[in-house]
């Protein structure tokens, strides 16, 4: 019973991170139609920035949220305004834009990863913060991991409320359904798409900061998280924010169960789920 509880709670802790990462990609793909294969690089940027701020300047990692979030947001916003906007205009059809933007995101992946490796080098970085054990119904977890889950849930919910309850959120949902028509209805489509891409990047950056609390970070960590984000987004249904949120926790629990059996197989298990899902229900949990 204790091990069962242990595994499930560990899964929830992992799931919070996955949910956050996937929500970011869901914004970028679901609204801005950019299947961003460089998503993980923004996570890496968030993680390494937090590491630098903590080890070099002694900034509390939770405070560096206020740095990582806006920084990656601005980066994402600018990238969309300069790069993807141009591609959007020059592409003849949405399908062509989709494949062009995939290629452009490979290029971004190369560029960001190379700049980061010049700045931070290839070492694996880690720091110790809030590594105190907390007893949860008989199972023991690090306080840092609980903080991670708390932040992930709060940010995830805040973001969900933002999209469903505000005027800007309504514009975002309209743009997700049909950018051209939303534009005709008076939505400033360039701004909304760039904001969505920026929010996606910011969620990745924040997730990176939370990841750095629990795991070591390094320059080539991004790719693994990109794949996880892709799996969760498909699991939850492309473009559905609550779907990504739930999908993140589902995958986290599955991952935790498999890790309990054999840690080497967790990515293999994710992938098998991905395959089964694509075959049985490609629209995902919350897909239309």
């Amino acid at each position: 019973m204790i091990t069962f509880l242990n595994v499930v709670i560990a899964g929830l802790l992992l799931g919070g991170l996955y949910a956050l990462i996937a929500m970011g990609l869901s914004m970028q793909y679901g609204v801005a139609r950019v299947a961003n294969f460089s998503h993980g690089e923004f996570i890496m940027l968030g993680g390494l920035t937090t590491w630098t701020l903590y080890t070099a300047f002694g900034v509390n990692p939770l405070v560096s949220l206020a740095v990582c979030g806006p920084l990656t947001f601005i980066l994402g916003y600018i990238i969309h305004r300069t790069l993807f906007k141009r591609l959007f205009v020059s592409s003849a059809s949405p399908d062509i834009f989709e494949s062009n933007s995939v290629l452009a995101s490979f290029a971004l992946l190369f560029i960001i990863q190379n700049i980061a490796s010049i700045a931070w080098g290839p070492e694996i970085r880690g720091y110790s913060y809030l590594r105190v054990p907390v007893n949860l119904a008989g199972a023991v977890f690090g306080a840092n991991r609980l903080v991670t889950l708390g932040f992930a849930v709060v940010i995830g919910l805040a973001f969900y409320l933002f999209v469903t309850r505000t005027r800007m959120g309504k514009a975002i949902r309209a743009a997700a359904q049909d950018p051209a028509t939303a534009g005709l209805m008076g939505v400033n489509i360039d701004l909304v798409l760039a904001l969505c891409f920026g929010f996606g990047a910011a969620l990745a950056g924040i997730a990176g900061m939370l990841i750095s609390l629990c795991y070591p970070v390094h320059v080539i960590m991004g790719q693994e998280y990109t794949i996880i984000a892709l799996i969760v987004v498909v699991l939850g249904g492309l473009g559905s924010i609550p779907g990504s949120f739930i999908g993140g926790f589902v995958l986290g629990i599955i991952g935790s169960v498999v890790t309990h059996i054999d840690p080497g197989l967790s990515l293999v298990a994710y992938y098998l789920i991905f395959v089964l899902l694509l075959l049985v229900r490609p629209t995902g949990i919350m897909g239309r």
């Binding site: 020059s90 399908d95 494949s99 995939v102 290029a107 190369f110 700049i115 010049i118 694509l278 490609p282």
Partner: protein, 316 residues
């Protein structure tokens, strides 16, 4: 007037190809050493790019699986290379990759668009982690060594694979099978309605393209001499063929070949001269190509030719 021009073109292109092939065959006698290595590296990328184009250009599916097939070829070579002759190893590698492609294709080629790209992207990671897990749990080692072979052998084998691939591409293009593929790319539904077995055709083509990637991997493994799952299933081997094909331009048959040749040469130079910035530079070149060369190098050449012709007409 026009008829003679067309006839000339008909003779000119095969003749040109033959001359290039003869020059390539003669190369190790004239310029041994590094040049041979450089050229077979370029030829290897042309193989990867052209076999990617074989499936993805007509059907419009963005496949990120090349690294998986290439890696299967590498591992086949590492496992069988000690006991079997090279020709057998290469054939088996091609077949192994084709079997994987048949399996994966049958499972997933019903998926449309971006799902397929996601799926194949993950496939490479799946196999990489599975092989890593298998090696660590059952063989207890991380990597494997291969028996080195002299450079000229690698060169000729790579060249032979390329010739086989180009012949296959040519034959497919001019057959009704190629036409059916083209129609799938244009409108899958309509193709199905005209009686084409859409899924079967896609799966077979996917497998044919995998044969050459696997064969290329088998010979490439020997050049590497040491392999581990991270080297064999490097996701860059999936990105590069796609990027090279786009860089060259997929409107013309020669576009991807040109793109792969120029890009892989550029890559070699960048790696040796600017090893710290090479990914950055590659990324920038790609962004520029995607933004400003939508039809690739071939498109650029086409525009130049048109301009040159236009000028001549204006003069007469």
């Amino acid at each position: 007037m026009n008829a003679t021009r067309v006839d000339l073109e008909k003779v000119r292109i095969p003749a040109l190809l033959l001359i290039i092939l003869l020059l390539l065959i003669a190369l190790p006698f004239g310029r041994p050493g590094y040049t041979v290595v450089l050229v077979y590296t370029i030829v290897m990328y042309i193989i990867l790019t052209m076999s990617w184009v074989l499936f993805s250009a007509p059907t419009g599916y963005l496949s990120l699986a090349p690294a998986a097939f290439f890696g299967v070829g590498i591992y086949t070579s590492a496992i069988l290379g000690m006991t079997f002759p090279l020709s057998v190893v290469i054939c088996v590698a091609g077949l192994a990759s084709a079997c994987l492609a048949l399996l994966v294709g049958a499972l997933t080629l019903r998926l449309r668009g971006i799902y397929f790209a996601f799926f194949t992207f993950g496939l490479v990671e799946l196999i990489k982690h599975f092989v890593l897990w298998y090696e660590l749990t059952f063989t207890g080692t991380r990597g494997r060594f291969l028996i080195p072979v002299d450079n000229n052998t690698i060169y000729y084998v790579t060249l032979a694979i390329l010739v086989a691939l180009l012949l296959t591409t040519y034959l497919i293009r001019r057959s009704k099978y190629g036409l059916a593929l083209q129609s799938i790319g244009e409108d899958e539904e309509a193709a199905a309605h005209t009686g084409i077995h859409v899924t079967l055709l896609k799966v077979i083509t996917f497998a044919i393209s995998a044969v050459f990637m696997g064969a290329a991997g088998a010979i490439w493994a020997i050049r590497l001499t040491y392999i581990d799952p991270y080297i064999a299933f490097d996701i860059n081997n999936s990105f590069m063929p796609v990027l090279m094909a786009i860089f060259g331009g997929m409107g013309q048959l020669y576009g991807p070949i040109l793109g792969a040749a120029v890009f892989s040469y550029l890559r070699e130079i960048l790696i040796t001269r600017f090893s710290y910035y090479y990914m950055l530079l590659i990324g920038i070149i790609l962004l520029v190509a995607i933004l400003y060369l939508p039809n690739g190098l071939a498109g650029l050449i086409q525009t130049w030719r048109k301009k040159a012709w236009g000028g001549q007409h204006a003069n007469t």
